[in-house]
Amino acid sequence: MTQYLSVEFIAMLTGFLLMVIGVWGIISQKNLLKIVIGFSLFDTGLNIVIVSLSYVKNSTAPILDKAVEVSDAASKIADPVPQALVLTSIVIGLGVTALMLAYVMRMFREKKSLEINSYNELKW
């Protein structure tokens, strides 16, 4: 049971909760901007999950300075890989969000509506 009280677990749970909230927003909100916000929440949650994966018990940031000597780095630092991945993931999330917002702006210009239900021309 103690594992469920550790830092990384709580961080991960938070991330997952954010993701679930994001998914709920995505599938239940009718407003385009809220859907985009749902995606942002989902992304953020996902990023928190990724970061919490990198944590190793009692470790510190993977930067070699006075606190962490080169020789015992392997036993002191957190996993640098997820941290590198999360950087990429954040940037991609940013790009996608910018794209979504640009689309929403364009759609709003065409129809003056932010309701997703009013963009159903193409179907069947």
Partner: protein, 1039 residues
């Protein structure tokens, strides 16, 4: 060799450098095009490199470290092939979009370039996270390309696309990072080695990864977003999405299968569901781009199912997947490009293609490639797929693949029919832009070229010569020359082929000799009639020759593959021949559908045979011991779609009646014999098997009923050619009946009838066709009294109907005699009585035919018609000579036939004594009958002439002697509603119940399609819900 990493460096370098160029758009485009060309060169170099040597794939270590410490790219034969496909398509796709890219400026150009780059890296990378990054690049770039043509439709659909792929890639990312957590690596090969499917949680992680890739392949029903993109984006973009983005995703799926091997089984199901459902939905589409979207999703489904079948297919997997993939790749992009050229929103407007005939040819090539006709690559792919699946006893899979393909055939051929036949005079002229035409043409050529390459890889196709096809291509190239040149060349071609094959067959194989003779000599004779036409008759000769080539291939085939190759070729050619008729659009479609259905039954039958015997030889049919009845029935159904037996006949009357005058005899007298030949082969191979006897018994009944219904329906026709068409159905019913007897006399009858039917039906169709050309109508009640204007035609029809009806002295009598002997011998009295009765019915329509056209009162408007064209008369009279010979000297034909049939049925043969044939039940001397009847006839004639010396000649309008008033022919012509009384009494037998049945089937399928497509309600959020639901449901199915 240039390091493949430079695909990335030059593409990105140029994409970034476009910023320097400011507004110099032409220069930018030139730079982008040359970059794409450079990328083509790099991947082509590697492709050739790996093709020539079987070296290990090249590993590219980015960052300079080995995996798993850094990201590595791989370049092997597979990667080289796929990057080559991507880059060539990218290059041509950019050329295609030249105008649009120049209009929108450099932003779109660099997005385009980055899009192609992303796909390249997706193929090459061996790192899961890197795959995620570059698939994001690809999908974001695509989100930009969708608005290449920003309009009310494309912007919302672009948004749907962005949110859908956003959700899917989130799954991918989540799966990827957890795969890293559970395996400690991001390298695909190392993850596979870690066997995460056995790790708790790890299995879910890789499941998420693989399912995200599957979702990228737009499986039904989580694919509404993709359909909207296909419909609204510029077709040039649709081509890229469907052609190369789909192809890349498939390769990624293939690459990732080892990571989550447990997905294979469910992948097959998902793929096939998508295949069948998308094709079903395609039925109710009218927008070409959306239709292509459905078709595209269907093909992706089939291909992803194929990837799931990797284990089942063994060595053949690569070949099968590649051929089907390449067909899809070229054909779908080509079709989208065509759609962009003509730019219409309704598939009915595709008749516009005829304004530039070469486009129509390309369209045909693409459609036939999607369905899988020879010699296009997917034909071989589908053949091998069915064979291998059957060999693994996967009959459910075989069935669903064939059903899906069949449904796909329905809408694709309906579409092709629209393009070939619908009126296009109201549609606008359009300019054929070279930048749009060139890529499309290249794709068509490459498609055919890959087909040829694929055929070289096939086992069991060695006996097939490509010279006939090359000859046909040549005839197509000279399509602009006048008829007489093309006709002469075509006849020369057939004659040359006859000279090559017939003498040899005469000594080695009588059966094949006879059918080859019917096909080739018949072909030559019917082609002679073609001289009567004027102008160029564009497109006629290539397709006619394709049909004859197919027929010849069938005869020469020694393996089932060669047979099927010929069969499909013949179907394709005859389809184009039939659709040439004025009102043939629907008839040609139903002909095609029955043919495809039949062909798939044949394919399944051959598949089962291959599964047991592991041999593709046709002879291997006889070694079958399991499932013999099933194979027999499948093959028989396949062949009976061509012989138009009752139940499968509804395509025939329209198709034959509406065809052109010289095409009707081709498709009636000649083509139908292909089915007879098939049935004969089948019965020769399997006839000895006791399990067949019952089926044959029912086939006999089917033949008898076909004969009855066909003849009765013929009697009620007002249309001369329709009458003959129904008559053909009935005659083929006789042949089926005779074949089903499975006895010496039965088969002798069948063979004799086949030859006879060829002769007299060719005579009748040619003559009636020639008459129709002169009088301009098919309706018999609009003719009449033509005997004096057309004596040549009259004599020909008279001889034709005497031969058909079976009265002495002509050949039909011999047929009847043989027939009754066979029936008595077999004790099939009930069926025999039905056939006998239907023979009497035949007199009704034969009388109607000759009476209403040639006798009675001459119509005013036909007073000045002249006799039929000499070019029709020549083949007709040659055929009449043929009838006369076999009537006078039946032994010349029957003795060799008997000898041949004794191979299989030695008992019950006729005993010959000169011209006298003796059976158990009686004897017959054809020559004697002819002489006797001749003497009787001459005597009576002389007597009548002597008697009637004092007779007064009556003019037509001398109403003192004539009871008929020549006005208002509809009501007063005797042949109008002739036999109304019989119709009242017996019409119920020929009520179109079977047609109604098929109509009901098609209505049912259509309403299913209409109903199912309502799930795509256009709401982007709904599509997200489908994606999430798909994800969750598949999860619960797998775990």
């Amino acid at each position: 060799m240039v390091n493949p990493i430079h695909i990335v460096s030059i593409a990105l370098g140029v994409a970034f450098a476009l910023g320097f160029l400011g507004k110099r758009d032409k220069l930018s485009l030139g730079l982008v095009l040359s970059t794409l060309a450079g990328m083509v060169a790099i991947s082509a170099g590697w492709f050739i490199h790996f093709l020539n040597s079987s070296v290990e794939p090249l590993q590219i270590f980015t960052g300079g470290f080995k995996p798993p410490f850094a990201i590595n790219l791989q370049m092997g034969l597979a990667e080289a092939t796929f990057t080559l496909l991507i880059n060539v398509a990218g290059f041509l796709g950019a050329i295609y979009l030249t105008k649009e890219l120049l209009k929108t400026g450099k932003n779109m150009m660099l997005i385009f370039l980055v899009f192609i780059l992303g796909l390249n890296v997706m193929v090459m990378t061996r790192d899961l996270f890197n795959l995620f990054v570059f698939s994001e690049i690809q999908s974001i770039a695509l989100a930009g390309l969708i608005i290449l043509d920003p309009n009310r439709k494309s912007i919302p659909s672009g948004f749907k696309y962005v949110i859908a792929t956003g959700l899917i890639s989130s799954f991918l990312l989540l799966g990827t990072v957890f795969a890293y957590y559970f395996s400690g690596t991001l390298n695909i090969d190392f993850i596979s080695q870690a066997s995460l499917q056995y790790v708790k949680g790890g299995a879910v992680a890789v499941f998420m990864v693989i399912l995200a890739v599957i979702l990228e392949l737009k499986p039904f029903p989580a694919n509404g977003w993709a359909l909207d993109v296909y419909e609204s984006a510029h077709p040039g973009i649709g081509a890229l999405v469907s052609g190369i983005a789909g192809t890349t995703s498939l390769f990624v799926l293939y690459k990732l299968i080892p990571v989550a091997p447990f997905i294979s089984d469910i992948l097959i199901t998902l793929g096939l569901v998508s295949f069948v459902a998308s094709n079903l939905l395609g039925l109710s589409q009218t927008n070409p781009n959306r239709l292509l979207g459905y078709s595209s999703i269907g093909q992706l489904g089939l291909l992803s199912a194929t990837i799931g079948m990797q284990q089942l297919l063994g060595d053949k997997f690569i070949f099968i997947a590649l051929t089907i993939l390449i067909s899809h790749f070229f054909a779908k992009a080509g079709l989208f490009w065509l759609s962009g050229i003509i730019n219409r929103d309704d598939i009915k407007d595709w008749a516009m293609l005829r304004k530039k005939p070469i486009l129509l040819v390309l369209f045909g090539v693409f459609i036939f490639s999607l369905i899988g006709f020879p010699p296009l690559p997917s034909f071989f792919g589908k053949w091998s797929l069915i064979m291998e699946l059957s060999a693994g006893n996967q009959y459910m899979l075989v069935t669903s693949i064939l059903i899906g393909s069949f449904i796909e055939g329905i809408y694709l051929f309906r579409w092709l029919g629209y393009a070939i036949k619908l009126d296009f005079s109201d549609l606008p002229e359009f300019k054929l832009n070279i930048s749009k035409f060139l890529p499309t043409l290249t794709w068509g050529i490459l498609l055919i070229a890959t087909g040829v390459v694929a055929s070289a890889e096939m086992e069991g196709l060695s006996g097939l010569s490509y010279w006939p096809l090359i000859f046909i291509a040549f005839i197509y190239l000279i399509d602009e020359l006048p008829i007489y040149i093309k006709n002469t060349l075509s006849i020369a071609g057939l004659a040359f082929y006859s000279w090559l094959t017939l003498p040899e067959l005469y000594y080695t194989d009588m059966l094949r000799f006879i059918f080859m003779g019917i096909f080739l000599i018949g072909g030559i004779l019917t082609l002679i009639a073609g001289y009567a036409y004027k102008g160029k008759r564009r497109g006629f000769y290539p397709v006619a020759l394709i049909m004859y080539a197919g027929l010849a291939y069938i005869i020469q085939a020694s393996t089932t593959l060669e047979f099927f190759f010929g069969w499909e070729l013949m179907t394709a050619g005859s389809y184009f021949l039939i659709i040439r008729g004025k009102k043939s659009i629907n008839h040609a479609l139903s002909y095609m559908l029955f043919s495809i259905g039949g062909a798939y039954a044949i394919l399944a039958g051959f598949g089962i045979t291959f599964a047991e015997t592991q041999s593709m030889l046709i002879a291997s049919l006889s070694q079958l011991s399991n499932m013999v009845p099933l194979v027999f029935i499948l093959l028989a159904i396949g062949f009976m779609t061509k012989t138009a037996s009752l139940g499968l006949h509804i395509w025939l009357p329209g198709a034959h009646a509406e065809a052109e005058s010289d095409v009707s005899p081709m498709v009636s007298a000649i083509l139908l014999k292909a089915g007879v030949f098939g049935l004969l082969l089948l019965m020769i191979a399997m006839g000895n098997n006791p399990q067949i006897a019952t089926i044959a018994y029912y086939l006999g009944w089917l033949g008898a009923l076909t004969a009855l219904v066909g003849n009765m329906a013929a009697a009620f026709q007002e249309d001369a050619k329709r009458l003959l068409a129904y008559s053909s159905i009935a005659q083929l019913g006789y042949i089926l009946f005779a074949l089903a007897m499975m006895s010496h006399l039965g088969w002798l009858t069948a063979m004799y009838y086949s030859i006879n039917h060829f002769l007299y039906k060719a005579i009748l169709f040619l003559t009636i066709g020639a008459v129709v050309l002169k009088v301009g109508t098919h309706s018999m009640y609009k003719m009449g009294g033509l005997i004096k204007n057309m004596p040549l035609a009259f004599i020909a029809v008279l001889i034709g109907i005497i031969a058909l009806s079976g009265v002495p002295p002509l050949s039909g009598f011999g047929g009847k005699w043989l027939f009754y002997n066979a029936v008595i011998d077999k004790h099939w009295y009930f069926q025999g009585i039905i056939v006998f009765f239907s023979g009497i019915v035949a007199f009704l329509y034969l009388y109607k035919l000759i009476y209403s056209i040639f006798l009675g009162q001459l119509k005013d408007n036909l007073r000045h018609v002249t006799d039929i064209s000499l070019w029709f008369a020549i083949p007709i009279y040659i055929l009449i000579i043929g009838i006369m010979i076999i009537s006078a000297k039946p032994e010349w034909l029957l003795q060799p036939l008997g000898k041949m049939i004794s191979q299989w049925y030695p008992n019950g043969a006729l005993a010959w004594n000169g011209g006298l044939a003796t059976s158990t039940y009686g004897y017959w001397n054809g020559n004697g009958v002819m002489i006797t009847i001749g003497i009787m006839f001459t005597t009576i004639l002389i007597w009548l002439i002597v008697l009637s010396r004092k007779a007064q000649k009556v003019k037509q309008f001398n109403i003192v002697y004539a009871a008929e008033a020549p006005q208002r022919p509809e009501t007063t012509h005797q042949s109008y509603n002739m036999y109304a009384g019989y119709n009242k009494a017996l019409g119920w037998i020929v009520a179109p119940k079977i047609t109604e049945f098929w109509n009901m089937m098609s209505d049912w399928i259509l309403s299913l399609a209409h109903f199912t497509r309502l799930i795509y309600n256009g709401n982007g959020q709904r599509y997200l819900i489908y994606i999430l639901g798909y994800f969750v449901i598949i999860y619960f199915l797998v775990f």
